[in-house]
Amino acid sequence: MKRKRLNTALNMQFMLLFSRQGKLRLQKWYVPLSDKEKKKITRELVQTVLARKPKMCSFLEWRDLKIVYKRYASLYFCCAIENQDNELITLEIIHRYVELLDKYFGSVCELDIIFNFEKAYFILDEFLLGGEAQETSKKNVLKAIEQADLLQEEAETPRSVLEEIGLT
């Protein structure tokens, strides 16, 4: 997982979202790895995090990375950062992402993320870029997503109208 990178504020390697039963709900990788490696890492990490007791720290050391995880209701949000990175700010990043999801979906729950996983990705990509927070204003992130959604709707509407009339 070694990769030469600019020495930026946060070298997040990946973020995983999974349920209490270990089902993956979202995976975002900021390092290039083969599918097989990703699966292996996911499996191992999910097992390790699920084995943690509730009162334990949100940080753990795994391989040569630091893992920062936090549980929100039935979902675990898990980030892997490098050794010189700031764990506490990573917790804030996770929290900010959850807040964005919450604002977008209106009291977000796991089902929202299951059925709208592509939207969850879009929001994540708007907020984090290459593993770092690129837009620190909640408002701007949500505005951008809103606009993109509008564009999407505008593009789709004509088709459905035609369908309704039965012309396609």
Binding site: A9, N86, F122
Partner: protein, 682 residues
């Protein structure tokens, strides 16, 4: 062909599956439908199909046949298609596949798309692929993309500016120098950044946070040390500025940006005195003024501490940093305590005195509930032990040893021995500490501690009587902890005469007869709890006592074993250190063949004498072992060949023995990495 089902439908259906097999069946059916739909080149539903494919990919099923479809989606003019297409490409492709190269044209075109949002979120895929091979293609290919990068500062829309800058920087950072002319690369980057920086300063009046943010990311080059004063100014403004609801987190303005700037300052000030000096004030200001009631404030403080530690800061600032860490230790939040302990561990070597001030808090953390915190507190405590605080610290550490988890006991015991050896205020204290460890965590003590302890005991000549007495008493209480038993039997064998003579200065001497001592040792020999090595020790001890005790009649019954015991010893190789991994390797395994050839030539019949020895030692277990104790004492080797060589008992043996860890059920598994020792030699 009917319209393919919608994504939501598919998700709902798959979730109703009750078994893995059922789910697999549903997925296979759907994949087949999707494949035929792709074959038909159906433009209308391609987007929907790819979305479904992405869902199935997340569940863990193969989805590679969708890769080309993603490309087709990206090339489409419809916004929805592009969005899903890029998402699919990011999830399904990585730089190792050549398919992504086909996208370059699409991306180039989209960069100039009329809608700024298309451009803006292109940065995500660009980020995903700004790796070596892509970058090679894009930058090497006529430098078009480099041209694009140069155009960036001219684009006014801030949402576009930032991501592309960032990705531009990443591309530059990731491509190995051989693929670019160094001068060209420098020039491109520097130009971009300079222009960008000017623009930022202009925009800064409106506090465009994200643009600031990204430009901060780009400044990670040492050229920009001269900009440190400006960065300091920006940070100051940020802290002093009023409330901005969209950037605010729990009352702190834009903590993400603050952390970024601090990180940048850390990099720029790293080995540079001038820069470090320029930042001293602002660091002190951030350190004292940040609100610490929530995690976010602590995150900023933590970053400040890391920065202070890394740059060439003045000592006052460093002390401030360590005090902050000390305060963290008192925080209710265990995450913060954890982070503090980790950082203190890193700084304890360089700022030892400052960390010492927080010793009592650190020692309190030994009682924490969280396992990782306890471990770090233990490591840190050992690092803080010195001649002045040894007694107090040892008390706490021994108490910790009593109550901690088994995983810790081995490390803690080793640490205690090590610290005691370095800083013991008196020999008696040292012996007492060792006794305490052996009796409370005896079974977790590492194998190599036994010879070390024996060596230590022999060195404290005046304490022999006291030591043997205490060990004897401990043995009477409990014979289950093998290291304790081994050390005790060795000492009794060596100093048994002192024991029965009833002379002890340090404490009340006990009255013990020779018979009682021999009873105890024989008890060890036959006990089920004793490992073969322990039996070896006790047998040797009994033999030794034959020269020290007057009533040797009891010992005569072991005479038949003398020849086997006193076999000529094989060649011993010296072990360089006392580390466990070297113990048996050199002797037992190094040249099994030569050893065998040495002892086998007369093909010997196992005599009844050797058999007795075997029986006593518990049958077919190999009892190997050779170990040289730190200085050069002779070793005892157990062999199972017969062949009397007759050797007078007046030759003293010193026989710290050790054994492969598998003989100790409780000892930690650090072991001997080599193959298990060979079978008996007869």
């Amino acid at each position: 062909m009917p319209a393919p089902i919608r994504l939501r439908e598919l998700i709902r259906t798959i979730r109703t599956a009750r078994t893995q097999a059922e789910e697999r069946e549903m997925i296979q059916k759907e994949c087949a439908a999707i494949r035929s739909s792709f074959r038909e080149e159906d433009n209308t539903y391609r987007c929907r199909n790819v979305a479904k494919l992405l869902y199935m990919h997340m569940l863990g099923y193969p989805a590679h046949f969708g890769q080309l479809e993603c490309l087709k989606l990206i090339a489409s003019q419809k916004f929805t298609d592009k969005r899903i297409g890029y998402l699919g490409a990011m999830l399904l492709l990585d730089e190792r596949q050549d398919v992504h190269l086909l996208m370059t044209n699409c991306i180039k075109n989209d960069l100039n798309h009329s809608t700024q949002y298309v451009q803006a979120w292109l940065s995500a895929p660009w980020a995903a692929w700004a790796h070596q091979r892509c970058a090679e293609t894009w930058l090497g290919g006529g430098g078009e993309t480099a041209e694009n990068l140069k155009l960036l500062p001219e684009k006014k829309g801030s949402s576009v500016c930032r991501p592309r800058d960032q990705e531009g920087a990443r591309v530059d950072g990731d491509v190995p120098p051989s693929h670019q002319k160094p001068a060209q690369r420098e020039e491109t980057t520097v130009n971009c950044l300079e222009l960008q920086w000017k623009e930022i300063l202009g925009l800064n009046k409106g506090r465009s946070g994200s643009v600031l943010h990204t430009s901060v990311v780009l400044l990670m080059l040492s050229h920009f040390r001269k900009l440190v004063p400006q960065l300091v100014r920006i940070l100051k403004n940020l802290i002093m500025s009023g409330y901005s609801p969209e950037h605010d987190v729990s009352g702190i303005s834009d903590p993400f940006l603050q952390v970024r700037i601090l990180r940048l300052l850390r990099i720029l000030g790293r080995s540079d005195d001038d820069s470090s000096e320029a930042m001293n004030d602002i660091l002190a200001q951030v350190a004292t003024n940040t609100e610490t009631s929530k995690n976010v404030g602590n995150a900023i403080l933590y970053e400040t501490v890391l920065t202070i530690m890394d740059i060439k800061s003045e000592s006052g600032l460093r002390v401030l940093a360590i005090n902050i860490l000390g305060r963290f230790l008192l925080n209710n939040d265990k995450n913060i305590r954890y982070v503090a302990l980790t950082s203190l561990l890193k700084t304890v070597q360089t700022d030892h005195n400052a960390v010492q001030r927080h010793r009592s808090t650190i020692v309190d953390c030994l009682k924490d509930l969280d396992v990782s915190i306890k471990r770090r507190a233990m490591e840190l405590s050992f690092a803080l032990v010195n001649g002045n605080n040894i007694r107090g610290m040892m008390k706490e550490l021994l108490y910790f040893l009593d109550s901690c988890d088994p995983d810790f006991k081995a490390d803690c015991a080793s640490g205690v021995f090590h610290a005691a050896e370095k800083y013991a205020p008196s020999k008696r204290w040292h012996i007492d500490t060792i006794m305490r460890v052996l009796t409370t965590a005896g079974s977790y003590v590492r194998d190599d501690s036994v010879p070390n302890l024996i060596q230590l005991i022999t060195n404290s000549v005046e304490m022999h009587a006291y030591t043997v007495q205490r060990l004897y008493k401990a043995l009477l209480d409990d014979i289950s902890q093998q290291p304790l038993v081994q050390v005790s039997s060795w000492c009794i064998g060596e100093y048994g005469d002192l024991l029965v003579s009833g002379q002890c200065e340090e404490e009340e001497p006990i009255q013990v007869t020779e018979d009682e001592v021999l009873d105890v040792l024989e008890g060890l020999l036959v006990s089920n709890m004793s490992s073969p090595v322990t039996r070896g020790y006790s047998l040797t001890a009994i033999m030794k006592l034959s020269t020290r005790f007057s009533s040797i009649n009891r010992i005569k019954k072991y005479d038949h074993m003398r020849p086997a015991l006193l076999e000529r010893m094989p060649i011993m190789e010296k072990t360089a250190t006392n580390g466990p991994t070297e113990i048996v390797q050199t002797n037992g395994e190094a040249e099994p063949s030569s050893l065998e050839s040495k002892t086998l030539p007369p093909v010997t019949q196992p005599t009844s004498q050797a058999n007795d020895l075997l029986d006593l030692l518990g049958g077919n277990d190999v009892v190997p072992v050779i170990q040289t104790a730190p200085p050069h004492k002779a070793c005892l080797c157990w062999r199972r060949t017969a062949g009397p060589t007759g050797r007078s008992l007046s030759i003293r043996w010193a026989d710290p023995c050790s054994s492969p860890a598998r003989v100790h059920p409780h000892s930690p598994a650090f072991l001997l990495d080599g193959p298990p020792l060979t079978a008996p030699l007869q």
